[in-house]
Each structure stands twice: as C-alpha cells, then as structure tokens.
C-alpha cells in the first residue's frame, strides 16, 4: 500500500513537472482495495482494470520502474510507451488490460473467465471498475451474462461516490452497486474498502469459491478518492476533506492502527517504498523513447 501511495504521489509531482504524459488518474486513498484483492491472486489469474489502474498494476506485481517508464512514454515501459497510464498491461503478471473506456473491461474479463473454463483451468478473472461504470450498458449486459453462464469471475467495484465530476446521486437512484445486481443471483457483498483487512477477508472467500468453480461474485468496496478525477482537476464539485476526517479514513493509517502490523515494520515498508519509487523514477528517466518504427511494427501481430 505504501508502494502505491508513494508511487501515486510521485506521479502527481511528475505530472505537474510535465514528465509523465496523458490523462493521469491517481488512486491515492483507494490503495486498500488493490492490495486486499491483487495480493491474493496468482500470476495466471487474469485481471482487468480501468482508467485508474496504477494501484492495481502495482499490487498485481508489475515492476514499479516499468510502470513509471510507461507513464513517461519510454521504451522500457510495460507497453514500450504505447499504452500509458490508462492502458497498462503486464501479461507476465496477469494484468491483461486496463481501458480508458469506462466499463469496457468488464465483458473482456468474462471472456478470460470463459477461456479458463474452456481450457479446463482454475484461473479466476477479476475486473476493477468504478461506480461510474455501473450505469453503462455493457456493465448490465455483462452482469447478466456472468450470471447466466456462472463464470468464475469477481467483479470488484470501487465505489468512491463520484463518477468523474459528479456524485453518484446525480447518476442513479440506486445508492449501492450491490443492489443493482440483486436480481441476477450474484453472490455480492459491500465492504468498507478503506479497511484492507475487510477487503482481504471478503475477497478471499469469493476467490476460494471461484477457484472451486463457483461464480460470479460482486465485491463493492466503499472507498474515497483523495485526489480529483484526473491530475489537474480542481475538484470544485466537492468539498475538500478535513485532515482529521482523512486520518480516520486513510486505509494505510487504519491498517497501522489496527495492530495487524508492527510500527517499525510499517516504517520500514514506507521507507522501502520511497526508495523503490525513486529508483523507478531514475530507471524511467534513463530509459530511451521508443524508435519511431515501433508504431508500424506493432499495429498488427505477425
């Protein structure tokens, strides 16, 4: 979680310095979901993410320096600089795609779950999306299909209460995402997404069942996006959270207060994360931009 937090905060600085490119959506404040889910998965469990993907990639095992190099558009990036922040892919670690089209990743995760079933494997597919995706047509089509086909997939909704720039109440009358899917006979649970232990426990139960062939599942994680929708968003549509309130919500501080981790262990983890992020920045800065021929080379597979 510290690795994600420091990575994201460093990316925010680098964005202001114009060292990382494109639309940058940070997940500061939502680390508990990525950590509680991804660290329980195997490398061959396919994971899909959306436009706010850095935390999921890092928690799934993508090397920090290659994520950072990707954001800087370098040849040493995960996608050789052709994807960027919203399109992180790391096949080696099972991150099969992040998408900038809200909700477009959900049916693809079903496809990977179907592929696992057809191949006789026990992989479990996981897809992360925000509450904004729930109002999109492909979400509803996908929930129906996942349920109809009983696919081994866990739909993980990070409900941070805001779809882009407007609160959930401006998008729908249904407050809880787990209620949206109620008629489809999904196993569903809403948890406090800023409580990593709760995420871990509930997701772990879903994962074990899915591994055994059950499914689908929906895990709604109520969380909080500390930053604006994207870096540079003045976020005038909401009030800044008071420091004291954030101390209460912050998933990292809560974990440290919980007693599940010793204070010196936490401090060491934080320092190691800071060092690793700085090393990632150094690696990315030194990585060259890709050759101009790369676009033509990679438009089609051969």
């Amino acid at each position: 979680m510290w690795r994600i937090r420091h990575f994201e905060e460093r990316v925010g600085q680098l964005k202001r310095a114009d060292e990382v490119y494109g639309l940058i959506h940070l997940s500061v404040g939502q680390e508990g979901v990525a950590a509680g889910v991804c660290t329980q998965l195997r490398d061959d469990d396919p994971v899909y993410s959306g436009h706010r993907a850095h935390g999921h990639a890092i928690a799934k095992g993508a090397p920090l320096e290659r994520v950072m190099a990707e954001l800087m558009g370098r040849d040493g990036g995960l996608c050789r600089g052709l994807g960027g922040s919203m399109h992180l892919v790391d096949v080696e670690h099972g991150l099969l795609g992040a998408t900038g089209v809200v909700g477009g990743n959900i049916p693809m995760a079903l496809g990977s779950a179907l592929a696992a079933r057809l191949a006789g494997g026990d992989q479990v597919a996981v897809v992360f999306f925000g509450d904004g995706a729930v109002q999109a047509g492909h979400f509803n089509e996908s929930v129906n299909l996942a349920s109809l086909w009983e696919l081994p997939v866990v739909l993980v909704c990070e409900n941070n209460g805001f779809a882009e720039f407007t609160p959930r109440s401006a998008h729908t009358k249904v407050e809880r995402v787990s209620d949206v899917v109620a008629p489809y006979d999904l196993t569903r649970e809403t948890v406090d997404g800023n409580d990593v232990a709760a995420v871990w426990e509930t997701f772990g139960g879903f994962l074990a069942a899915a591994r055994g062939g059950a499914g689908p599942f929906l895990l709604e994680c109520l969380t909080y996006r500390l930053r604006g929708h994207y870096e540079g968003d003045p976020a005038k549509y909401r009030e800044a959270i008071a420091d004291a309130d954030w101390q209460e919500k912050d998933p990292i501080l809560r974990l440290q207060r919980s007693g599940l981790i010793e204070a010196d262990e936490a401090a060491a983890a934080e320092q190691a994360a800071r060092d690793e992020v700085e090393e990632a920045v150094r690696f990315a800065r030194e990585s060259p931009y890709p050759a101009s021929s790369l676009s033509d080379e990679l438009t089609y597979a051969t």
Binding site: Y48, L78, C79, G83, G97, L118, H138, L145
Partner: protein
Amino acid sequence: MSRTTYLQQINGALFDAMRADERVFVIGEDVAEGGPYTATAGLAEEFGVERVINTPISEAAISGVAIGAAQSGRRPVLEIMFIDFVTLALDQLVNQAAKAHFMSGGQLTVPLVVRTQGGAGQRGGAQHSQSLESWLTHIPGLKVVMPSRAADVRGLLASAIADPNPVVFIENKTLYFRREDVPDDPEPVPIGRANTLREGRDVTIVALSRLVSEGLAAADRLAGDGVEAEVLDPRTLVPLDLETIVESVRRTNRLVVAHEAVEHGGFGAEVAAAVQAAAFDYLDAPIERVGAPFTPVPLTPPLEDAYLPGAEEIYAAALGMLG
C-alpha cells in the same frame, strides 16, 4: 469441381477449424440453432454447446467476451447477425480488439474472427441491409475480408481463423444460396491477395462482394461492344493488395471501383486515391466510382431495386470512360 453454395462453404470452414483446433469456438446469437441463415448449422451437434455458445442479444458484451477469450488464448469466431448491429459492438472492436496488441507493446494478441453479413436486395429495410465495411477499414489494427464467391470463401475463412489479429469477415446475404462450382479440395486463401477473375486490356473493374459477379456480367456485356474489361476481386480490403490493382491499371489505363456501399465516403474512394497516387501518369480518364446513392436503403421494391448498384451501372461507367 463440385456444385455447392457460399453458405455451405462457410459452414464447412467452421467444421474444419473446430476439428483441427480445440481452441476454436463459435459464439453469437442463436448460433447453436444454426443462426437465421444456417451458417452454423450442425456445429452444436458435433462440438457441443460448450464450444457453440448461444448468447443473449448483447452485442457489446459478447464482443468483449470474445476479445477477452482471444487474449486468454482461445480462438473465438463471433457472429454479429447483421452488420447493421455492429454499431453496438464497435466500442469493443475499435477501442479494445484493434488496439490491444499495439497498446500493450506487443504483449497481447487478439486472434478473433467477427463473422457478419450485410447487403440489400431482400426487402430488409434500412436497418438490415447496409454495407458498412468502410467504418471498419478505417481502423488500424483490424483486418477486413469481404468474400465474393463460394470458390474462395472457405479458404478465406480458414485464413481469418488462423490469423493472430482481429479479422472482420463480411459476408453478403444475397450470395448465401447461389450454387457455384468450387474445387473439391479448397486451399486456404491468403489474406491480402487480390484475385483476377477476368483478364482484359481496356479497363480495370475492381469490385467488392456482391458486385464482383455484377462486374463480371458488365464485362460480358462490354465484350459485346468490343471492350475487354479486367475484373479484380480484392477479397480483403485490409490489407489491400494494391500492387495487383495498380499493375492492372498500368496496363488498362482506366479504373472503375464498384461496391454496394454508399459511394460517399466508401472504400472506393480509398482505392481511387491510392491508385491515382501510384499510377497517375498511366490514367487515360478520371477514375469512376460505382456505389449506392446517399440515402438509407429503401424498403419498397421499386425503390430498393433502383437504389442497388449493379452490372448496369458498372457497364455505363466503363463505357463512359472509353467514350
């Protein structure tokens, strides 16, 4: 040689691919029942409903499912029942399938075939009769195949299924039940190679899909006027075998490009522009395009018949250039 149909050849190619490779599966609305034209008839009986998967009417989601399965190592053949419904699948095809290999820096591949069919002439009305190939040819990362004959549709579909890229395979509903001669042991037909169906020295006719046979009919009629037309079927629009087309135009010095799609913004414009850039000095006349007028497809028979471009329009265009 044996007599068979375009549709039976498609069905045969699906049987061949599913027997040869267990990763191949068919997915789409009503496919286990054979679909509205019986293209997938019999597959569920031989391979089971696990590999011949009926879906709800959810084009966006089933396209995404097929892409995800392809990324995870399977070889889906997705049916979009009418190309008119590809509108609902375009996000997945354009934003996901076409770009996955590229945006992942080459890590992902999407070996997906999207079978669909278009074309007017059966009183289907404006939402079941369109020719929308130029939407798809505009997207880098997609391949687009438009078979015109029973003789090579099977080989083209085999190549599409074997291809590591997303391939949109656009059939034409009016070709399905024509009886034609085909070789007994059809070879795979490579993607990206045009076919010269008739040789001639006076004018080149490049025609797509249903208009290939119309181009051949026009060439017969032109021969009666002493004009020898060369008829080319590109078979695949992306990648386009421009070399064969340009080589022909350099000999005939005249080009007619014919398709059923609306002429305005159609693929013919791309062919015309590419040919004039490559062979401007060889052209003895402006390149002529034959396509549908800029209206939706009308339902009522007299208007639909008048709407459809065919041999008459190709003949007139070619003759006009020689005038």
